[in-house]
């Protein structure tokens, strides 16, 4: 036995053993070689525009200096001061309202979409006839592109001709009069509801996949111990889904803070201003930097938003690091 194994072990101790690290180095270089094109593309597609955008935010880049582009006058941090602190700055105008709306919108959409997605995933995580068909049909809202969602709901919210008021007032008799949804404070709900409508199905699918990975034995054991449905959900399902929920909430918050299409399609035919209760940060940023031709200030707001989001992601990841990596 030893005669068979010894040469192998002994070979490690041979003087020519240093040949191995050389081989290992070759093997180590290969993955980097494979990654190189992707890394290069990342630099070209992401890093270069970020650096360029950062420089733009320090320039007086507007309608009158656009032809100079990167050679436009350097103004240091003046764009940042203007958009953040100067109430008379056109890009600043309405920013607090848009900030408030975006925070509420993001919280509400995330909470509703995650809750509905989880609830429906729990319902679908059991056997019943037509389960596959139900799952497919429920995914339909997610398949519809956001710009189509915005356009369609824009029609559905019309006070007199829209189907929403028809259902609420004429069919269900929930209300005694037809309210405006596209004018006034209801505008906020007019953008929240379509966003939730489109967002929850994909969350449902992700939660369903995660639920199917939870061992059935845990539930059986809990049942034997007399655990109620709520206790099983509270102590088995929720902890098992926590890593997925944590990461999906983060994605939702990011998506919703950067939300643009639905508002733009629903209210984009004039100045793109949906009113005090419908304006979000991205439509505001697009309108007030592109329509006003204030590209330097627009870039400054973009970087402020990016910085805020980076802080949010860092805090979130730090807070839930254990939940995201813990298999249990």
């Amino acid at each position: 036995m030893t005669a068979v194994t010894e040469p192998g072990l002994g070979a490690l101790a041979q003087p020519h053993a240093p040949a191995r690290p050389r081989r290992r180095r070759k093997v180590d270089a290969f993955p980097y070689l494979l990654l190189a094109p992707a890394a290069l593309m990342m630099v070209i597609v992401n890093l270069v525009p970020i650096v360029q955008g950062m420089r733009m935010s320090l320039l007086k880049l507007n309608q009158y200096t656009l032809s100079q582009f990167m050679d436009a006058p350097f103004v240091g941090l003046r764009n940042y001061r203007g958009v953040l602190l100067d109430p008379a700055n056109p890009v600043h105008s309405g920013m607090l309202g848009a900030l408030r709306n975006t925070a509420l919108y993001s919280l509400l959409v995330t909470a509703c979409a995650v809750s509905i997605g989880l609830a429906v995933a729990l319902l679908l995580n059991r056997d019943f006839p037509g389960k596959a068909l139900a799952r497919t049909l429920l995914m339909l809202p997610w398949v519809v592109p956001t710009y189509v969602v915005g356009t369609l709901w824009g029609f559905m919210w019309q006070r007199d001709e829209g189907i929403v008021n028809h259902v609420l007032v004429d069919v269900l008799h929930v209300m005694d009069h037809k309210p405006f949804w596209l004018i006034g404070s209801n505008t906020f709900f007019a953008i929240v509801i379509p966003t939730v409508w489109r967002a929850w199905p994909v969350l449902m699918l992700i939660f369903l996949a995660a639920l199917q990975a939870v061992p059935e034995e845990l539930y059986e054991a809990a049942r034997l111990d007399g655990a109620t449905a709520w206790q099983r959900f509270r102590h088995i399902t929720l902890p098992a889904l926590k890593p997925v929920i944590v990461i999906q909430v983060m994605f939702q918050v990011i998506d919703n803070i950067y939300s643009y299409n639905i508002v733009a399609m629903m209210f984009g035919k004039g100045a793109g201003y949906p009113g005090e209760w419908g304006d979000l940060l991205m439509p505001l940023l697009t309108r007030q930097s592109f329509s006003y031709w204030r590209f330097g200030e627009g870039a400054a707001v973009s970087f402020v938003m990016m910085a805020v989001m980076l802080v949010f992601v860092a805090v979130w990841m730090r807070t839930f690091r254990r939940s995201m990596t813990d298999e249990s």
Partner: protein
């Protein structure tokens, strides 16, 4: 041994030479064929075919020149044109909305016309003076193109509705007061089984917010900008009076509240569908009227009238598109020749017949081919005499966004929800508009 190969070589050589000659000849032919690149907007429903057909006679007269027509759309066209102007890489000639032209010219994106070129077109004499003004930049010397077609606004009204309500249209559109009284009489009557809303105009979600309001301001003696174009003039007593009158039409329910959440396109369809008595629109609405099914009632029962006269007349909004030579063009002489051709009478009449947009030349707008097509076209030509364009300032684009953003919010007040309309509330809204507009104008200096 080598002998047999020689004939083969000698026979292959001429073939190779022939091939080379053919390739060179093709290349030379290509080099001599000059291609002009032209960007246009969808002025007709089938511009990709209609514009080449329009310029076909010019192509026939210029052998060796071809024109590649690219149809942009109004939404993305602005970004594409500004990017071209900034990079100096773009078409040879292009169509520009009248309010876009000063901005692109100020960016250095357009080639100014020379004195000789201006002389060739009579120094602009054949065109409507207000449209000719839009080919220039306010306060600067230089002309950057030719007017191509015009957008002129008028009141389109249902004659059967007015008849049933016993309202004389001539009286109705005479003054603001008579217009107000007429709207009150036609509002809510039932015609062909439909309850009529007196007037349709859109709220915030529409690109016509400013164009709809401007004639009322002008006719009240106000203006969009101060005389030196350095400040917003929306807070003058005249302009405020006009905004108040216009808003109260909605507050009183003469503009149905549900119109305020729609855009012009939908409202025009609804007007053609018989839901409203009056709508202020342009010549393109004729296309929709012609397409309405026979017996729909509207085709046989409509007419146009000028804006009701305010204390200072009955001006209307005058816009449209101009043609210009791109600064970066390498074929400016040929591009000018084509611009000049399209600025001529016959092509303008032909384009108007294809598009239902009004010719920008006075003689073309009075040509029987246009005026006899339908009595309404002749009336639009007459109304155009009072047409008025915005001051051609480079900052008009951002300024119009500011105006549209704030004035569109009048719908929030006039729809009767939340803060109810009041003159102080309207004044506060206008004050915000003026503050932001002045900041944009200040930047322009």
């Amino acid at each position: 041994m080598s002998a047999p190969s020689r004939p083969a070589r000698s026979s292959a050589l001429p073939a190779w030479r022939w091939l080379s000659a053919l390739v060179l000849a093709t290349g030379a032919a290509r080099a001599s064929a000059l291609e002009l690149s032209m960007w246009v907007m969808p002025v007709t429903t089938n511009a990709q075919n209609d514009i080449p057909a329009l310029i076909a006679p010019w192509i026939a007269a210029h052998p060796g020149i071809t024109v590649r027509v690219t149809v942009l759309d109004w939404e993305s066209g602005w970004n594409k044109i500004t990017a071209a102007a900034a990079s100096r890489r773009g078409p040879d000639l292009l169509e520009l909305g009248t309010t876009w032209m000063p901005a692109i010219a100020a960016m250095g994106g357009l080639e100014p016309l020379s004195a000789a070129q201006l002389a060739e077109v009579g120094n602009g004499a054949p065109y409507y003076p207000e449209l000719w003004k839009t080919t220039q930049v306010f306060g600067r010397r230089g002309v950057y193109g030719l007017p191509w077609y015009a957008d002129v606004r008028a009141a389109f009204y249902r004659t059967d509705v007015f008849r049933q309500a016993g309202v004389d249209p001539a009286q109705a559109f005479a003054t603001w007061d008579s217009f107000h009284a007429a709207l009150r009489r036609i509002n809510g009557i039932t015609v062909n089984g439909k309850r009529i809303g007196a007037l349709a105009y859109a709220g915030k979600n529409d690109w016509n917010v400013v164009h709809n309001l401007a004639p009322w301001i002008w006719n009240a003696g106000g203006d969009m900008l101060s005389a030196d174009a350095r400040h917003s003039a929306l807070d003058t007593p005249q302009a405020l009076r006009a905004i108040d009158f216009y808003s109260r039409l909605a507050v009183e329910g003469l503009v149905p509240a549900n119109a305020l959440e729609k855009d012009s396109d939908i409202l025009e369809g609804a007007w053609v569908g018989g839901e409203y008595g009056v709508i202020f629109s342009g010549p393109w609405l004729m296309r929709r009227i012609f397409e309405a099914p026979p017996g729909s009632g509207v085709r046989e029962n409509f007419d146009v009238a000028p804006y009701p006269a305010g204390p200072h007349g009955h001006a209307t909004f005058f816009g449209g598109s101009n043609l210009a030579i791109f600064k970066g063009s390498r074929h400016k002489a040929e591009a000018w020749d084509l611009v000049k051709y399209l600025g001529g009478k016959a092509p303008q009449v032909r384009l108007s017949l294809l598009s239902s947009m009004m010719p920008a030349r006075v003689d073309a707008a009075n040509d029987p081919a246009w005026t006899s097509r339908h009595p309404v076209f002749a009336k639009l030509t007459a109304i155009a005499a009072d047409g008025r364009a915005y001051p051609p300032i480079p900052a008009w684009g951002p300024l119009e966004t500011v105006y549209t953003k704030h004035l569109g919010q009048l719908a929030e007040l006039t729809a009767g929800i939340g803060d109810k309309y009041s003159e102080p509330a309207m004044r506060a809204m206008v004050h915000d508009t003026v503050t932001e507009a002045n900041k944009v104008l200040e930047e322009a200096e």
